[in-house]
Assembly symmetry: C2
Homo-oligomer: 337 residues x 2
């Protein structure tokens, strides 16, 4: 491999991204800068958050500059290096981009990882990556589940949601998942062990709210929110007193030029509920602790973590859009090499 | 007075209430039931919450039954009684209705009040009533203001908002108020001692967000929300990291048949903010504590509490609608006798 294919953002998407918002270019493989190193990316994480980074709006990270490759968490191998802490051949995890090779400097987000005990290095983008740790810390630290409580999870068949539901079961909750389509709902029950699953497809807010009420007649003590929009509105009509809403994502709104908005916020008032925004970046010092418990649950067969592995930088656009079409089940990963 | 005028809800309002949703009727003055008593109402509280009770939707209180008088907190005098704890002539505060005379039973919400040290019994509907206590406990217990923090208050010239801002100043915050119109904004600065006031009239969400950014360049550490809709959306674009949003009211949405919704909830996520619903009913055991501190601040001249006293049950509809037109400054009270 003598070229570095890079998947560039060349235009800010209006609503849903279209192929022409991006361009795949070939450049020479970079050399390691003084004190830095070059990573051969093997897997890249595809996440809803990347859609936000494509907009030119204030967020917890700067927008991706136009002409730069799309920012992504990747796992890869140090290719060449001018830094003794990152030797060629070492596996690393870091915030890089959708490209064959990324230049990195120490002091950034890159860390060396031990892939000896995982079935695939991509596990560091799923179970032990931001997705798994988001499920773990979001549910346990913000949701604070207690045995016997009812946990309602939206986007339940997704990467974060499926882990949240399973961790909720481990913690003794009754777990109700909301997902799109009968297949996903069956999967929630049979594959992930949820107590109940609700299909939101083709249902109005009122109908969806009624379905939730059936499965959670006392209301939800915890709502783990990945979706927003109509789904959130239906959930808000089913809060238990002093419910905790973990605001983890609002994927239904990311591509919407005119956002729908949460119309039932008054229920937060009526039920004295609390809605708290959660970003995994706040838990970096505790990643080792969370990763270890996730690995243990997986080894014990109590936690299943699925990956939806798409292949090839040339398919980056189609792969990314699976997040929004609802096509992916499990953590979406792009295999680069 | 030998008749009991009662302001009945005879139809559930669609959007903004219209006069035909109500009817003023005359009935005989009731007799005290066994073990109960009859209250001659002197003042009734007019509050946005009453609009919610007129709808047939689940809330923290049952809907007002059609044909019943409009539920309201009142202060009045025991008129006749079959209960030794409530002797004729005693002043009482309770959850009654917009009517001359209300029947009450012990064990309900009625309590005897001491009006000797207030300039008007209506103070128990404003400064020391639900309004004052909502401002007090909402800001102090949910907002948790720290000296030097920035407090953003919507509906700032209203009954709750004007007290919240002043208590924020007492606690050492920089206080920025949002209100409708130049007069109200001037009043916030000159009358209530706010640090800054922003007029939302005629401003888009983007323009309002820019005005807030100017007055709160580091963002708001606390948002005390009374309004919702566009105002909330503009505030959400100006949160400081880990901001606390006290969700106290959403008055802009109460009459909206199609609710607008909060479109910028993603900022709660980005800023790891917390939004918590607040109802004064949760603080009943601490009313004496809050009332005493409010009275002390008023006596010290540090807290001004204004009342907008409208007169006459026959004017109940027009008086109530002042809440939504933005006409009232200070706590809206209906003087019945």
């Amino acid at each position: 491999m003598t070229v570095n294919r890079r998947f560039l953002l060349c235009r800010r998407p209006q609503g849903a991204p279209v192929p022409d918002d991006f361009r795949l270019v070939e450049e020479p493989v970079p050399a390691a800068p003084a004190g830095g190193f070059v990573i051969r990316n093997h897997f890249a994480s595809l996440d809803p958050a990347q859609r936000g980074w494509m907009d030119d709006v204030p967020s917890y990270m700067p927008p991706i500059p136009l002409g730069d490759p799309v920012r992504a968490t990747t796992v890869g191998v140090v290719h060449n290096s001018d830094n003794p802490d990152f030797a060629p051949g070492q596996w690393v995890l870091g915030l890089n981009a959708l490209e064959d090779y990324s230049v990195a400097m120490p002091g950034g987000f890159t860390s060396v990882i031990d892939v000896a005990h995982v079935d695939s290095p991509s596990r560091f983008l799923s179970a032990m990556g931001a997705v798994g740790l988001t499920a773990y810390f979001g549910l346990l630290e913000v949701g604070k589940p207690q045995p016997g409580e009812t946990l309602l999870v939206s986007g339940a068949a997704g990467a974060v949601g499926s882990m949240v539901g399973q961790i909720g079961k481990i913690k003794g909750c009754r777990v109700v998942g909301i997902a799109g389509g009968a297949d996903k709902c069956r999967r929630l029950i049979e594959h992930y062990g949820f107590d109940a699953a609700i299909d939101y497809h083709g249902r109005s807010v009122t109908e969806l709210a009624a379905s939730i009420a059936q499965e959670a007649p006392q209301g939800a003590d915890i709502v783990f929110e990945n979706v927003g929009g109509d789904v959130l509105d239906a959930e808000l009509m089913n809060l238990a007193m002093r419910a905790r809403i973990v605001l983890c994502g609002l994927i239904s709104e990311y591509n919407a030029p005119e956002k729908h908005g949460a119309r039932n916020l008054w229920q937060v008032l009526v039920k004295r509920a609390t809605m708290t925004g959660m970003l995994i970046a706040d838990y970096v010092p505790r990643f080792a602790e969370g990763g270890a418990e996730i690995a243990r649950w997986m080894a014990e067969g109590r936690l299943r973590v699925d990956e939806d592995v798409q292949v090839g930088l040339e398919n980056a656009y189609d792969a990314f859009m699976r997040l929004f079409s609802g096509a992916n089940t499990g953590k979406l990963v792009l295999k680069i090499v």
